[in-house]
Amino acid sequence: MKRVTRELARVSGWELFLIALVVGAIIAGSATSEFFLTETNFRVGVSDFMEIAIMALAMTLIIVAREIDLSVASVFGLASVVLGLLVDGGAPMGVALAAALLTGAVAGAFNGALIVKVGLPSIVVTIGTLAMLRGLGFGLFGTKSVSEFPVWFTDIGIGAVPGTQVPWSFVVFGVLFAIFAVVLHRTYFGRQIYAIGLNAQTARFTGIKVDQIRMALFVVSGLLAAVAAIVYTARVSSVRADNGTGLELQVIAAVLLGGVSIFGGRGSLLGVLLALILVAVLRNVFSLQDIGSEVQDIVIGSLMISAVVLPETLARVRRRLSRHELAGPEPSVETP
């Protein structure tokens, strides 16, 4: 019990605010639609969002390390193209899946090599691979679409764990989330990622293998983009070369909304998880009310900006109050 309260005390103001928003959105959802709190809606709402959620895990680690990966959606596209080509060519499903995962890892390693070996900034490299890998997908696949997949594969894509309404993709996400949370918050490796994000040079001087860790993060990011592509393909049972176009900004938006600092070194996977839940719930509530995606975009864009503005305004107000009272030490400024 003591441990639980200690853990709770570590939850930051922004995370509490996100929890409040999630609760508010759920109340609003159930008040406005009878369909909202049904199991079917839960299944549909959750599985619609799993691709973004899976890619956000690796993106969190990358942004904490003060890097960025703009190419995830293109890796996602390329991995699904490889999957589609092999299935279309009659390859066994196992081989096709392995090849898709390998594609993701290789694409990630390519990013990593340009960043680590050549020394280019990750934002530049991944803008380049964003175009290049998407183009590669188009070049290899053309404008056709492949939608003949084994039944067991698409069954997993739309089905749920027997006896429940929990989609299989959510199980995949849950396992990955647990692994990433433990690695980032409970291991030496995770602490090294924060150290790199706070000051890469200092990290290097203290003996942290900065280049190897950066490389590993980009390979993992590519790999998760491929996992997301497989999950997506199983759900919609269709491969097109433009699968997932533009998802990169949605993934980054979710991570930043979760309170991860764009300047590295700060943020938690709990915050990102809450942000993912919030965005998923909001999108679901809006679409149940037939409110179009344009309003959803406006709300999510504004929320992202308030992820910075609100905590800072609160800190400013608190500082002013404490100055009036002339008591107690200056509270530290919170920057998510």
């Binding site: 703009l70 340009l114 050549v118 020394g119 280019l120 900034p121 934002i123 530049v124 490299v125 803008i127 380049g128 691979t129 964003l130 175009a131 290049m132 890998l133 998407r134 183009g135 590669l136 188009f138 070049g139 053309g142 404008t143 070369a241 533009g246 900004l249 980054i252 938006a253 930043l256 764009i262 300047f263 179009g292 995606s293 344009e294 309003v295 959803q296 975009d297 406006i298 999510i300 864009g301 504004s302 992202m304 900006i305 992820a307 910075v308 503005v309 800072e312």
Partner: protein, 340 residues
């Protein structure tokens, strides 16, 4: 300082100094690109085709000119794609409904919209202290959302846009398209400003070391606010030209343009972490991108491969520039050591 250093540089030195400019490396790569494509494709090295390339680069160039000062201060404006989109729709829609409006007024309207949206970005970054990449990523969504709300599924069709307005994109002065003249004129003014005016130099100082710039008494906030306003203004102008050039405008016009803009600046040698780069380089960067896609179209490489090759070319250009830059730096350091 010795009198020797004050003497006019000799031709050899001048050439050496020219060679150490990052833009010169890019210009050399560009010449190589043009000549090698020209050797294989007959219709590539013609005046008409070059004009085609310049026209296709014009809007991108104008938006990149706006982006450059922002990046110099170690900030970024991701929202430009949506700003171009929203002004393109609003202006195209307006001229379709009021065909008698003078074109100048519509251009001014587009610029004003862009300036206003840029000012919102500026306030978020300088007053609310939101990191520019987050603020403008947020407004990228918000502005696009507002654009879709305004459009609500409609589109501006080319049949309703008066020809006098569309001529903004097609008319020429002395054989040179007006859009290209506009881009070059703005580039010249901004380039000279950044090179010679005090506030222009201060932008470099802010980007090189924000803390040192603040200590030196530079009004960083005011200047960063101004660069974001200017970026919005240029995106607004780009939007007007977009509606004139394509005439058919939907609410998703110019989606993804922001990444092309950043790519062009980066290819042109503008450091994404601020403090280094020129407008001339950035303009050259957008010309390189336009030339690559033109060359691919002419060589009849399937359009499907276009994006892949453009992306690979971007990476190649940046890598070459980076490696060459490191070598020039090493050479400069050696020279200094020898002089001691």
């Amino acid at each position: 300082m010795s009198t020797e250093a004050l003497a006019r540089p000799r031709a050899g030195e001048l050439l050496q100094r020219l060679g150490s400019l990052r833009e010169f490396n890019l210009l050399a790569i560009y010449a190589l690109l043009v000549l090698s494509v020209g050797a294989f494709v007959g219709e590539f090295l013609t005046f008409g085709n070059f004009r085609e390339i310049l026209v296709s680069a014009a809007i991108l160039t104008i938006v990149v000119i706006g982006q450059t000062p922002v990046i110099l201060t170690r900030n970024i404006d991701i929202s430009v794609g949506s700003v171009v989109g929203i002004t393109a729709f609003v202006c195209g829609d307006f001229i379709s409904n009021n065909p008698t409006t003078p074109t100048v007024l519509v251009v001014l309207m587009g610029c004003a919209i862009g300036l206003g949206l840029g000012a919102v970005n500026g306030l978020l970054v300088t007053v609310a202290n939101v990191p520019a990449i987050m603020a403008t990523l947020g407004t990228l969504y918000v502005y696009r959302g507002v654009d879709s709300l305004i459009a609500s599924g409609k589109q501006v069709s080319s049949s309703t846009v008066p020809s006098s307005y569309a001529s903004l994109a097609t008319s020429r002065v002395a054989g040179i398209p007006v859009m290209v003249l506009i881009a070059v004129a703005i580039g010249l003014v901004v380039g000279l400003f950044l090179r010679y005016r005090r506030s222009g130099r201060q932008l470099y100082a802010i980007g090189s070391n924000p803390d040192a710039a603040a200590s030196a008494g530079i009004h960083s906030r005011r200047l960063v606010f101004a660069t974001l306003c200017f970026s919005g203004l240029m995106a607004g102008l780009g939007g007007v030209l977009w509606s004139a050039q394509f005439a058919t405008v939907t609410s998703d016009a110019a989606t993804g343009l922001e990444l092309q803009v950043v790519a062009a600046a980066v290819v042109g040698g503008v450091n994404v972490f601020g403090g280094a780069g020129t407008v001339f380089g950035a303009m050259l960067g957008s010309l390189v991108l336009a030339t690559i896609s033109n060359a691919l179209a002419l060589t009849r490489v399937s359009q499907l491969w276009l994006q892949a090759i453009a992306g690979a070319a971007l990476l190649l250009a940046v890598t070459a520039d980076h490696v060459a830059g490191r070598r020039t730096l090493a050479r400069a350091l050696n020279r200094r050591r020898e002089q001691r």
